[in-house]
Amino acid sequence: MNARHLPVASRQQVRRYARVLLTRHPRALAGVLALHAAAAVSGLAAPRLLGALVDGDGAADTIAVALVAFVVAQGVLVRYAYLAAARLGERVLAELREEFVDRVVELPLSRIERAGTGDLVSRSTRDVEQMSEGVREAVPDTVIGVVTILATVVALMLNGPLLAAACLVALPPLYLVTRWYLRRARDGYLAENAAWTQITDGFAETVDGARTVEAYGLADRRHARGRDDIAASWTAERYTMRLRTVLFPTMVLAFVLPVAATLLAGGLLHARGLVTLGQLTTAVLYVQQLTGPVETLLYRLDEFQLAGSSLARLLGAGEVPPDRVASGERPRGTEIELRDVRFAYRPGQEVLRGVDLTLRRGERLAIVGPSGAGKSTLARILAGVDAPTSGSATAGGVPLTALPLDDLRRTVALVTQEQHVFGGTVADNLRMVGESLPDARLRAALTAVAWDGPALDVRVGTGGAALTPAQTQQLALARLILADPPTLVLDEATSLLDQRAARTLERSLAAVLEGRTVIAIAHRLTTAHDADRVAVVEDGRITELGPHETLLAANGPYAALWTSWHGPTPTLATTSEDDH
């Protein structure tokens, strides 16, 4: 499972990144803090003025006018503080998600080819969402909370340090419980998220495979999987609920305790004439006012943790070690050569066991062989996606995986069965290989692949016209024609077309790609028949290599393959047609 999942950033990395984010806009941040502080201070006037009223200092009318002034000031300040904070938050959020996408599009090729993108999908949706909720709500609330608490504590001290001391009773329980909680919460919420993702993934799978479920009568099995996922989710939810069952009551008591303590201490001090009734009133109201921000702060800790774990997953996408380091060597020519290439995905299980192959410039080489013989692995090595475990795969004398990615793409391109239609116009789907390509060239490329889909300006992919699997492959091949590298590797690139269409496409492709080196892996032997050379791969080795006719004459495995595939009665078909 670990090989399939991308890494998650460590706490230290998350903290470092959060600091970078915060300090990137120092002036905006300072403005937000100043506005919130001013708003918090103006909010502290009312209890103080009420205290004055209680003590009979100043006329009720004057105090009321002052109160109105402070309330208006607070209202205005809160509005602008909020706006400034939200603007900053949106900016940071935009940077965050854009940087995530930047990291995603830099992910090592070999990782994506082998591990797929399932894990990334949930990061780019769920985690980005969770993160934005955090930044849009938890962060501003936390800023307000911290600023308000600090201002209130200062006001409490100014009102009377003796009374202020009373609220210290809340600190030990708050500290202990919060620490206990925070130590467990992160993992708890991560597990909760993972369990929820299992539920939605299972649902998506059922939806996507609805036909299969019906045909095979798997409904009960899918429902059972759903029940298991729900049971697992419930276990995870119950754990965090237990954490909160400890946290919440402690918090509530921690709020009531200082109010009671201030009241009691104040009453006793008042009896000795050490504080006035007004001071006591102000102190009690301040302590009560602390409840709101402290509660918000602690409540948001949850979301902070969630946002933190999402951030860890977003940052983790950048933690995949690069699979290639450009050596700086300059290739002499573009000829690709394999020398004693061995490859194993798992130690001890070699998929390729000593492949030697020198590609001739401009040749068409077909690779055939039984399923599981290592053809696709060979294709990935030829295309510089994976480096051989031992031996060498070079272009112009330089290992393919030592070329910078841009140079590699100018040297060799790989098209596999796995294709994707991007949401956008047909032209958008082609222009990704060159933004300035004129429409005429796009059309020419589409003609070369016998395109029968919608016109260039029609929206396809998500939210647009649906393309058939065959059209998706045609589009991918058109893209390849436009990219035009000297060497192309086609791994079953026409397998989803029906036989006739595939053959037509391959022939028109051959005309367009004249002069390029084309390596085609295909189970349809017409491809081999039309190629200059055929390589038969069996059990991780090239067992036969040569032109179709030569191999037929040699009467080896290829000849056997051809006879069985072509069918024993090829001549009959032509005769019968001639008869008509």
Partner: protein
């Protein structure tokens, strides 16, 4: 959760009501604990006022201790009620979410093959992820809404009890504040909706990049797509700032309007204290009430917002619950088998115990096999009984196509049929499909990723074939079962499939001579009807359209 049946043309409240009816106990507990919690909060200003009046102003230490004790007791009630309310809210949320996921899952499995034609996968998945949470949130927030209303009522009556004038001021003032803040709400909601829309598009764009990453990394265009994402992300940022502008007006008003009411109460209270009609403690209590009332007012706003979103989600869930399969559920006729299966529209007849091959265009193949498999309605008879009347159609026929998906999970169990079968049957199926090397390469217990991603196209196809063979239905229809497999393996599979299916009915839809030379009978269909049948050599000689379909020259 019990299936509520199809929603018909009822409004979005229906599903919310169905959910509520499913958990009356939890809702009652939520509201009950919410009310207890609200009351324990509402009494705090009153207790404080008493403590000040009796304990401090009256200099009665024992009263001070007593009222402090009452305050602490209220705190304990608060802690208990808050925690219990939270726990039952979580249960309600989860209950609603779990129940809804199960309901829509059951709808998806019941709709079966017709599902993709009726609703897009993306829409279904977003129902399963987003809308399920949203309706659950409506139920969860219900408890908070009830306690907010009770709080407002309790505080108002406490105030009326100590000063009618001040009580009335608050009683009129609170709804007035709500009314004054209301016009600020609609621009906020409008912008928030726009923001969500843009954000949804942005997420779609990210998903698109991720799904096509293989392609992007392979041929380039990362910068182009990242830049495009950046542009959309900036649009979301601008829209977010617009939301913030509207929201900031709202939050300013949330301070200003209750603040002014607070000043009014304090000012009137201070004058009452001055003329002796109100005690200092009571003034502090009034101040406390007016401050405290802001919170439940905010909650009411939140409840309104979430409920509105909840009705939208509920409508989308109901659209899923209304889905029906194209073909009604199986009939009731118990028919002894085996019997020939006849498709009237094309004239294709599958004789029991034989391996038949169908050579036809992809469109004809799809239409005929959908009818044979009862995935689409059609005039198909089993013996002389209409196929739709047969009770156990699903057990009798299986149409295996290449669009079938492999499900995530341990490999071997995911290939085993729904009914329990001896392990030997599965092993045999794997052997016939020549998939033993695939199983060996990962290990039989290995967990397969969704859609069998880690396997190549040919490997996936052989695993699918093994699964179809293991199901061992009376009638098995295989559509292009070896199109992604190399010739050697294809020939080997074609050679052993007949003996393996001995005594059962099999249809292979293919154009490969490797199959056509080995089956018992070949049927050629053009434009929807059988135009020729016989053996492969007969048809090659007799039908030019057949010859051109199967020719490999």
């Amino acid at each position: 959760m019990k299936d509520p049946g199809p929603p018909g043309d009822r409004g979005p409240w229906w599903y919310l009501a169905v959910l509520a009816a499913n958990m009356p106990g939890r809702l009652a507990a939520m509201a009950g604990w919410g009310v207890v919690h609200a009351l324990s909060l509402a009494f705090v200003p009153a207790v404080l006022g008493r403590a000040l009046d009796a304990g401090v102003v009256g200099a009665d230490t024992s009263a001070l201790f007593a009222w402090t004790g009452v305050l602490l007791a209220l705190g304990c009630v608060q802690a208990l009620a808050d925690t219990l309310r939270h726990r039952v809210s979580v249960r309600a949320w989860l209950g609603a979410a779990y129940g809804t996921v199960q309901l829509v899952t059951r709808r998806a499995t019941a709709t079966g093959a017709a599902l993709p034609r009726k609703i897009s996968t993306g829409e279904m998945v977003s129902v399963g992820a987003a809308d399920v949470s949203q309706v659950a949130t409506v139920l969860e927030i219900f408890g908070r809404g009830v306690s907010a209303v009770v709080t407002i009522a309790a505080v108002t009556s406490l105030m009326l009890a100590s000063s009618v004038r001040l009580g009335l001021v608050v009683l009129v003032g609170v709804p007035l504040i709500l009314a004054l803040a209301a016009p600020l709400l609609s621009p906020y909601r409008r912008r928030e909706e726009r923001y969500r829309e843009l954000n949804g598009t942005l997420i779609g764009q990210a998903t698109d990049i991720v799904a096509g990453l293989r392609v992007l990394r392979g041929v380039g265009g990362e910068r182009l797509f990242a830049d495009r994402y950046r542009a959309a992300s900036q649009r979301v940022r601008v829209s977010g700032a617009e939301v913030a502008r509207a929201e900031s007006m709202l939050s300013g008003a949330q301070v200003l309007l209750p603040g002014l009411l607070l000043v009014l109460v304090t000012w009137l209270g201070a004058r009452a204290v001055a003329d002796g009609s109100l005690s200092a403690g009571q003034l502090v209590a009034f101040y406390g009430y007016a401050v405290f009332l802001v919170q439940p007012l905010k909650v009411i706003g939140e409840v309104a917002g979430e409920t509105m979103r909840g009705t939208v989600a509920s409508r989308r869930i109901m659209a899923v619950l209304a889905l029906e399969p194209d073909v009604p559920a199986a009939g009731t006729a118990r028919v002894p088998g085996p019997a020939p299966l006849t498709d009237a529209a094309s004239g294709l007849v599958l004789r029991p115990g034989r391996v038949t091959a169908l050579v036809a265009s992809p469109a004809d193949t799809a239409a005929i096999t959908a009818r044979l498999g009862r995935h689409a309605p059609g005039d198909v008879t089993y013996g002389d009984v209409p196929w739709g009347d047969v009770a156990d159609v699903r057990d009798r026929v299986l149409v295996a196509v290449n669009e079938d998906r492999l499900f995530a999970g341990p490999l071997l169990p995911s290939l085993a049929p729904a009914r329990p079968v001896p392990a030997a049957r599965l092993d045999e199926a794997i052997a016939v499909a020549h998939a033993a090397d695939v199983v060996a390469s990962t290990g039989a217990d290995a967990v397969v990723a969704e859609a069998g991603r880690e396997f190549s196209g040919g490997q996936r196809q052989r695993l699918r074939l093994a699964r179809a063979l293991a199901a061992d239905p009376e009638i098995l229809v295989l559509v292009d079962p070896t199109s992604a497999v190399d010739a050697h393996t294809e020939a080997a599979i074609a050679a052993v499939l007949g003996p393996a299916r001995e005594g059962r009915t099999t249809l292979v839809c293919t154009t490969s001579p490797l199959w056509l030379t080995r089956v018992d009978h070949v049927v050629h269909v053009t434009e929807g009807s059988v135009t020729a049948e016989g053996t492969h050599p007969d048809l090659l000689a007799a039908s030019p359209s057949y010859a051109s379909l199967v020719s490999r020259d």
